[in-house]
Symmetry: C2
Subunit: 195 residues, 2 copies
């Protein structure tokens, strides 16, 4: 079993890298088998369909996101320090992936493709939005942020900053994208400060 688990993990690690470049729909068991020098039937023993593979890639990426973003951020004190830790970790979490954030790519890829993969993606993204909203609510409770600030507005604004950054840095290759994303985040927190 242990060998089987580590093989499975190595396959998912590679599949997640591939998906970050060619997207979840570009990921095929055939390509993956070729890259890893495994037989297609060997891969089918781990993932019985392309859909199972795609969902497992999402789970794998989500687990890595929790490990690299959520867990370290939860060590920061509640309120603004935690919001800052979330932002900084989020900005660097996809550096290990050759094609950048798997979720950003999957979001525009799957938004018009109903089915279990899209459903799982939406669940994972809703959990993340919920985490952002809750972190902001705690910053209100801590008095770091104005009591009338809107946590749902904050979450959408922050998501926008991250997607804008992803677009400017990955598509346009703009070296100032990081600096502008940080400025936008600081402005977002400044605007929410208690009066």
């Amino acid at each position: 079993m242990r060998k089987c688990d580590s093989t499975r993990n190595a396959i998912l690690e590679h599949a997640t890298s591939m998906a970050s470049q060619v997207g979840l729909t570009g990921l095929t068991i055939g390509n993956l088998a070729g890259d890893l020098e495994l037989s297609k039937s060997g891969l089918f023993a781990h993932f019985d369909s392309k859909e199972t593979l795609q969902i497992q890639v999402l789970e794998h990426a989500a687990a890595s996101f929790v490990e690299q973003v959520v867990r370290p951020a939860l060590k920061a004190p509640r309120g603004v320090p935690r919001l800052q830790a979330v932002f900084e970790r989020w900005l660097i979490w996809d550096r290990g992936l050759p094609g950048g954030c798997v979720f950003a790519a999957a979001a525009s890829e799957l938004d018009d493709r109903p089915g279990p993969v899209r459903e799982r993606l939406v669940e994972l993204q809703r959990q993340w939005v919920e985490f952002l909203t809750t972190s902001f609510r705690k910053a209100i409770e801590a008095g770091h942020v104005a009591a009338d600030a809107d946590p749902a507005q904050y979450a959408q604004d922050l998501y926008g900053i991250m997607l804008g950054w992803h677009y400017y840095s990955r598509l346009l290759g703009d070296p100032a994208a990081d600096r502008r994303a940080r400025r936008a985040f600081d402005a977002l927190l400044d605007a929410a400060r208690p009066g």
Copy 2:
């Protein structure tokens, strides 16, 4: 020639719709021929390769964007009224496309696929960013916006608002996404007001 042009236009219209749903890489001459009940060889007479078709789809979408967003916005007076017109037009321009904005989809699809299609996409997107930056600069000149506000920062922030809105409305199906995008845009202009 006239019949040929109108056939070509009808093909591109349909191809752009398809690309908005399945992405540029999901677009194949075979699928398109099937949908339009044309022969593959008939399609090849108009587009000699998949790459030519993809680039033509980008040009077609860009022309429609200019028609529906840029041209009407240029009728608004320079400065903040024009910035507002750009934003409102941009927010609704992709309503005619079943899968939403072709460029938003293509951006994350092509960011890791070097080649002429990506290059054309980047050129078109740079032109758009340049238009946003210039519009903001004119708002500074008109005294509607603080002289020390940064036009490049504005363009990235605005792009983020649009991408966040696209993600919230198309993937998460959140009915409040529009309202929040408008609030974020108002806050962006408020923050840039001359002191």
